[in-house]
């Protein structure tokens, strides 16, 4: 079939809960590995879990500590918790192995710049290609910082200079619905922002007639975000995504009920349009979102294509699912016309004090996003050692669909351009 799409993350490599240590013990035992851990300098009680585990396993780790600020003074509680986390990190790794990377989120009443600054600062922080494994722990990162960090590192590592080695990329998170809800709601910014490189060409004049399809991935307390994003995207079709299966079997229903008025009365969503995404398996959730996007891509080709917008309003784990689905549509193995893909979100302007309990239960997840797990190298012949000097994923955005165009939205311009400049400069 000419319009086929091949999903990059099906199959996948996921280690959760008890398997986390098993996976990393085995991975680190295979050979000497230099690890780069990208972690948030945040107040979240789960901030250090990945660092602790990797340290306990004797990993050789450098740290990029993303220190984000929005120009406001932190409350005493938030400052105390952040300081505790930094102190904890200092006990695990010597100071000369920890590099602080400042990320300006922009003031509460200024334009949202988190994605742009994260993108620039990650690129400027050092050379991710110098490591064997890059681990992004998103547990204590604001969502926009987390998604941009993963997106830029994934694209970067997917496009190494000629002959360079294959670097693994992992994303970890300590997942807890209770802790997420307790992280403090705060207030929202007025503007909708987009993950860098994922604007969906919302405001491009050349594609203004294409229909917009919106996939809000729903969580609790998202009424205001939904409303703001809806106004910005003005979707022609809406497919809400609810978590199912979930640790709490009623969670999906309760989320639907909480947002009932907005979804059904205001947005006029068809109940049949509601999609399900596994709460605790981000790759299965990715598959659901990717396939739903692809159905619209195929169906609306007759109308000249469409724009798909996916808003991650649920857990961090599902945010990664969203990012992967969008990345795969933008840069993956898609035959035929590609979707325009956007990830709109409304960032938090001011944070409230966290109501998290350090004893809130959580599960630790490790998603292996790119690298050796996907290398296919004549497996029947010789694979008793790991081959790291080849890339198998053909990110052929430049082939079937043509180059990804520069976007008209200055905040969300093409992810590839500055990175390409940086890569060619090296």
């Amino acid at each position: 079939m000419s319009d086929q799409a091949v999903m990059r993350w099906d199959p996948y490599s996921l280690a959760s809960d008890l398997d986390f240590d098993v996976f990393w013990k085995r991975h680190l035992a295979q050979r000497q590995r230099r690890l780069l851990l990208v972690v948030g300098k945040g107040f979240d009680v789960r901030a250090l879990e990945t660092a602790r585990r990797l340290h306990a396993l004797g990993a050789d780790v450098d740290v990029w500590l993303l220190a984000f600020h929005n120009g406001q003074d932190d409350s005493a509680l938030r400052r105390q918790r952040t300081d505790d986390n930094v102190e904890g990190l200092g006990k695990l790794f010597p100071a000369d192995r920890v590099k602080e990377v400042l990320i300006d989120l922009g003031g509460a009443f200024e334009d949202p710049i988190a994605s742009r600054t994260t993108y620039e600062q990650i690129l400027a922080a050092g050379d991710a290609m110098a490591y064997d494994d890059v681990v992004v722990d998103i547990s204590a990162m604001p969502r926009m910082v987390a998604m941009t960090s993963v997106a830029v590192l994934l694209y970067w590592l997917d496009h190494p200079p000629e002959g360079n080695k294959c670097v693994n990329l992992h994303v970890t998170t300590a997942e807890s619905v209770t802790a997420d809800l307790g992280a403090g709601q705060g207030s929202l910014r007025d503007q909708v922002s987009f993950v860098r490189g994922f604007s969906g060409e919302l405001t491009a004049l050349t594609t203004k007639d294409l229909p917009n399809v919106w996939f809000p991935v729903l969580g609790e307390n998202q009424r205001d975000r939904l409303d703001k994003i809806h106004q910005k995207v003005t979707p022609d079709e809406i497919c809400p995504v609810v978590p199912f299966p979930s640790r709490s079997p009623r969670r999906g229903d309760e989320i639907i009920y909480e947002h009932r008025e907005l979804l059904f009365d205001t947005f006029q969503v068809e109940p049949r349009n509601i999609l399900l995404a596994c709460e605790y398996n981000p790759f299965e959730a990715y598959k659901q979102v990717f396939e739903a996007m692809d159905r619209y891509r195929l169906a609306l080709n007759v109308l000249g294509g469409c724009k798909a917008f996916v808003s991650p309003l649920s857990s961090k784990l599902l945010s990664i699912a969203v990012l992967l689905a969008c990345y795969d549509h933008l840069y993956g193995q898609i035959s035929g016309k590609r979707l325009k893909v956007g990830i709109p979100y409304v960032e938090t302007a001011t944070y409230a004090d966290p109501a998290q309990n350090p004893n809130d239960p959580f599960e630790l997840y490790s998603m292996w996003i790119r690298g050796e797990w996907e290398v296919v190298n004549k497996p029947d012949v010789e694979v008793d050692h790991v081959v790291t000097d080849m890339i198998i994923v053909k990110t052929d955005a430049e082939t079937a669909a043509g180059p990804v165009s520069a976007l008209d939205d200055p905040i969300s311009s093409d992810i590839t351009a500055p990175l390409k400049e940086r890569l060619s400069a090296r």
């Binding site: 099906d10 199959p11 299966p245 079997p249 229903d253 009920y257 009932r260 399900l276 299965e284 797990w373």
Partner: protein, 374 residues
């Protein structure tokens, strides 16, 4: 009954103010169209709101009705067809495939984390084809399982575990043909048989119909021992289609903690000389799902009222569960409804059958229905 009429009836029964009516109507309409109207055992033409009105009407005016309504709003868990299908879709990639990858890694020598490389090996492809999928009940949805997994041959999936001689030999013949095509040489002996059997079931709440030990008779009973017994026989039907060290994976799409504990406890003692048996669950209900006497005290009072329990429900089949079905078969205490039928492990008041004196909200159709006079 028309929706407007049913809503008017409900408003009268619940004695709602205009404000309450507006709020609750919105809630009920949302969930009726999203889920509840699809319940397959409603009599023809009936919809959820009508069923709810009639169900509530049997309780005393006032607090009893409010208790019952609160239960529907806050405790009821309805698994829709879409949700069940999603659980079916998750079965292969989350439970079966990781095991096949691990075994293929060991056989091929490809490191276990080289996922895509392993799936390209001949060892993985053979293992994949030599896996047989059988339904353990009507709810196994093997049709959906097939559709969700196009890489699995139709000849590897069968809707029942009671496989006839003809079907069994047909499946083995097709397996041999495919393996010959894969490797270019005709396999023989164990190499031409299935080495993994995956048994699919939709729901288990007590686990007793799956497996139990009858102390008096000194016998194992239930679906699992029956299948294991068939697999043990080397020379006929299912047993003749599998290898000597067969791996059996029993998958429940949904299971309660009670069932997981029960099956997990008994399975290791079940004699099986020919291989190994594992039990896996796609969606675990968790410890907070069963109704609790203190947390759900008002609803327990309602259930304890003899007007809302028909002793006819406690038939001989229910006796296997060891307690009255008032709180669900085997004291399951579940608030669960599956779109095609309400399990009897859910509380009786939820599923009372149409032939009984109590009205159920989602009436159940029993497998063990009494013979009716013509």
């Amino acid at each position: 009954m028309k929706k407007e009429l049913a809503e008017a009836l409900l408003t009268r029964i619940m004695d709602w103010t205009d404000e309450e009516k507006a709020r609750e109507r919105a809630r009920l309409e949302t969930f009726s169209s999203y889920k509840y109207d699809e319940y397959q055992q409603f009599s023809p033409g009936r919809r959820f709101i009508e069923s709810l009105a009639l169900w509530l009407a049997q309780f005393d005016v006032g607090s009893q009705r409010r208790t019952a309504y609160d239960f529907v709003c806050n405790r009821l868990i309805f698994f829709s067809a879409g949700e069940m299908n999603h659980l079916v879709e998750l079965t292969f990639p989350t439970i079966v495939r990781p095991r096949l990858i691990e075994t293929a890694s060991a056989r091929s020598g490809v490191a276990v984390d080289r996922i895509k490389a392993i799936m390209e090996t001949a060892e993985y492809r053979k293992l994949h084809r030599r896996t047989l999928y059988l339904g353990m009940s009507d709810g196994a949805r093997t049709d959906w399982f097939r559709r969700a997994n196009p890489s699995i041959s139709n000849e590897q999936v069968f809707h029942a575990y009671d496989v006839s001689e003809v079907k069994s030999s047909d499946m083995v013949d097709n397996l041999k043909k495919d393996l010959t095509e894969m490797s270019g040489a005709e396999p023989d002996g164990d190499d031409a048989l299935f080495e993994t059997v995956v048994l699919l079931d939709d729901f288990t709440a007590s686990g007793t119909s799956a497996i139990r030990y009858d102390e008096e008779a000194g016998k194992w009973k239930g679906k699992i021992p029956k299948i294991i017994e068939d697999l043990e026989k080397d020379d006929e039907r299912l047993g003749a289609s599998v290898i000597q060290s067969v791996k059996v994976i029993i998958v429940a799409y949904i299971a309660s903690e009670q069932a997981i504990e029960h099956i997990g406890k008994l399975l290791p003692s079940l004699p099986f000389t020919k291989g190994t048996v594992e039990f896996e669950v796609v969606c675990k209900l968790g410890s907070l799902v069963p109704l609790d006497e203190s947390r759900d005290a008002a609803f327990f009072d309602l259930m304890a009222d003899d007007r809302y329990f028909d002793p006819e429900a406690d038939d001989k089949h229910g006796a296997v569960g060891g307690s009255t079905k008032r709180y669900g078969y085997a004291n399951g205490r579940l608030p669960i409804v599956l779109n095609h039928n309400t399990p009897n492990n859910s509380v009786y008041i939820l599923w009372a059958e149409d032939v009984q004196t109590v009205r159920g909200l989602f009436p159940r159709v029993s497998r063990h229905r009494k013979l009716q006079q013509p």
